[in-house]
């Protein structure tokens, strides 16, 4: 049995409300909250980035797995906000965790699905028998241009998953990836903020790829939506995952636990992984979980998990996603937010 042996998530404490951003740009807050189904989003502290978020999530995963970090043979971080253009995030993370130096490390980038890529490769290496454990992390401090629709959603957070074959808490039964060249969202080298194709990000991009992976996964597994207790899809806003779930035949109840975007925002590479972590926090043995990520450019990775009886032993060993989502929030005004996100031009 190969699957997740430890999982952990982390969200920063800082928040900005959608209405605060809307007020700044003279927009109708209610229309945005209703349209995007986003109430507020997480904001990284001035001392937080993809690396610190990865370390925090990975430490929680290690607390749950209770394994020797030295047994981890690979560590991959998926993000579109790696702090360095040239220098891997993972080298800092392994040294902070006490993993390695006999370890394979890489940074992945595939817009919002880089985290599920890291999970997929980590799982595949363990499945191939190359190593005992491998860790896949999805984390981001995503960027949204001032005044752009993305500013309401681009948030910060991440989740880490240790793959292994002993004391598995969620077995991975099936995977499927669906990819094509679709320029719906991009950020050129040296640009501060990404650009997107507006409505083109919907049907030709998000819905085509998520449904492509989801339908292939259902066909491959010979399962139907009603066979699952939970489902989680990439959450660029509140509306898209609900809509794609409906189109595929999943109910609101199946999506509810993992649909954390209205209060978290889009954590990009951490989006569906943090949703999965929220589900694993409360899942029971034998629950089936359906997950499909999405990354612009574009592609989707799909996973089918079966929760094992080991889950109840690990759930309380580390803070849960809801703890980070609901507790100790610090609200920022737009000026503080602009400072935190380095949107203000300063003298050097």
């Amino acid at each position: 049995m190969i699957g997740i042996v430890g999982f952990g998530a982390y969200l920063p404490r800082y928040r900005i409300k959608a209405e605060t951003i809307a007020k700044q740009w003279g927009m109708d807050a209610n229309a945005i909250i209703r349209g995007l189904q986003l109430n507020e989003k997480t904001v990284p502290g001035q001392d937080e980035d993809t690396i610190t978020i990865s370390v925090a999530a990975a430490k929680n995963a290690l607390l749950r797995a209770q394994i020797d970090p030295q047994d981890i043979g690979a560590l991959y971080i998926g993000s579109e906000s790696h702090p360095y253009a040239v220098k891997p995030s993972g080298t800092i993370v392994i040294d902070a965790l006490g993993v390695g130096p006999h370890v394979h490390v890489a940074s992945y980038e595939f817009a919002c699905k880089a985290g599920s890529e890291a999970m997929y490769v980590a799982y595949s290496l363990v499945k191939a028998g190359e190593m005992k454990y491998a860790m896949g992390i999805g984390a981001d401090t995503s960027q949204g241009a001032p005044g752009d629709a993305l500013e309401y959603s681009a948030s910060a957070g991440g989740a880490a998953f240790i793959m292994g074959s002993e004391k598995v808490v969620a077995e991975i039964l099936f995977t499927h990836s669906y990819t094509s060249d679709t320029p719906d969202f991009w950020r050129r080298e040296g640009e501060d903020y990404p650009r997107h194709g507006g409505r083109f990000t919907g049907d030709p991009a998000y819905f085509k790829h998520v449904m492509g992976a989801a339908n292939a996964l259902l066909e491959k597994s010979k399962m139907k939506p009603s066979d699952f207790k939970y489902a989680v899809f990439h959450m660029p806003n509140g509306k898209f995952p609900q809509e794609v779930g409906k189109r595929l035949g999943f109910t609101k109840e199946q999506l509810e636990v993992g649909w954390i975007v209205p209060w978290m925002g889009n954590t990009y590479s951490g989006s569906s992984p943090t949703g999965l972590a929220a589900i694993l926090d409360v899942a029971k043995p034998d629950d089936m979980i359906f997950m499909v990520s999405f990354g612009s450019g574009a592609g989707s990775d799909g996973f089918i998990f079966k929760v094992t009886k080991e889950i109840t032993k690990v759930q309380n060993r580390a803070p849960k996603l809801k703890d980070y989502l609901d507790k100790d929030k610090i609200y920022l005004d737009y000026g503080e937010y602009a400072k935190f996100r380095k949107k203000i031009k300063l003298n050097e």
Partner: protein, 130 residues
């Protein structure tokens, strides 16, 4: 060169690695080459507990250049649960009037500073209220 010094200090800054004298048991943080108690040069690395309490603190309202945009922030002397003391920023404090000596803290991994606009990012430990 800042990168060489930073690299040398990674075990203590990232993982709270201290040196424990193999002869008298003295714990040195940051690690030292010679034990100040028994002059032995043999230490074994140990990892300190990441939980402790505030012994004392001050609030920085006019910071040095690199930290001037982060003010106000608190700096404290933290006593870890294994009785060793260190100095760290106490991050994420909203109301400094509510900060108290004796409050429990946990050390977390955070970015400490950047070496200018194009230099390396430097990481290490900060305390947050537990």
């Amino acid at each position: 060169m800042i990168t060489a010094r930073y690299h040398r200090e990674v075990p203590q800054r990232y993982r709270l690695e201290a040196g424990k004298c193999t002869k008298c048991g003295y714990v040195a943080f940051p690690p030292r080459l010679v034990c100040p108690k028994c002059n032995t040069k043999k230490f074994k690395p140990i990892v300190l507990k990441d939980e402790g309490k505030i012994i004392t603190y001050t609030v920085i309202r006019v910071g040095p250049d690199k930290f001037s945009k982060e003010t106000p922030y608190a700096i404290g002397i933290i006593e870890l649960n294994d009785k060793l003391r260190l100095t760290a920023q106490i991050a994420g404090v909203v109301d400094f009037d509510k900060l108290k000596i004796g409050q429990k803290v946990k050390l977390v991994f955070r970015k400490i500073q950047d070496d200018g606009k194009a230099g390396i990012h430097m990481y290490g430990y900060k305390a947050v209220l537990a």
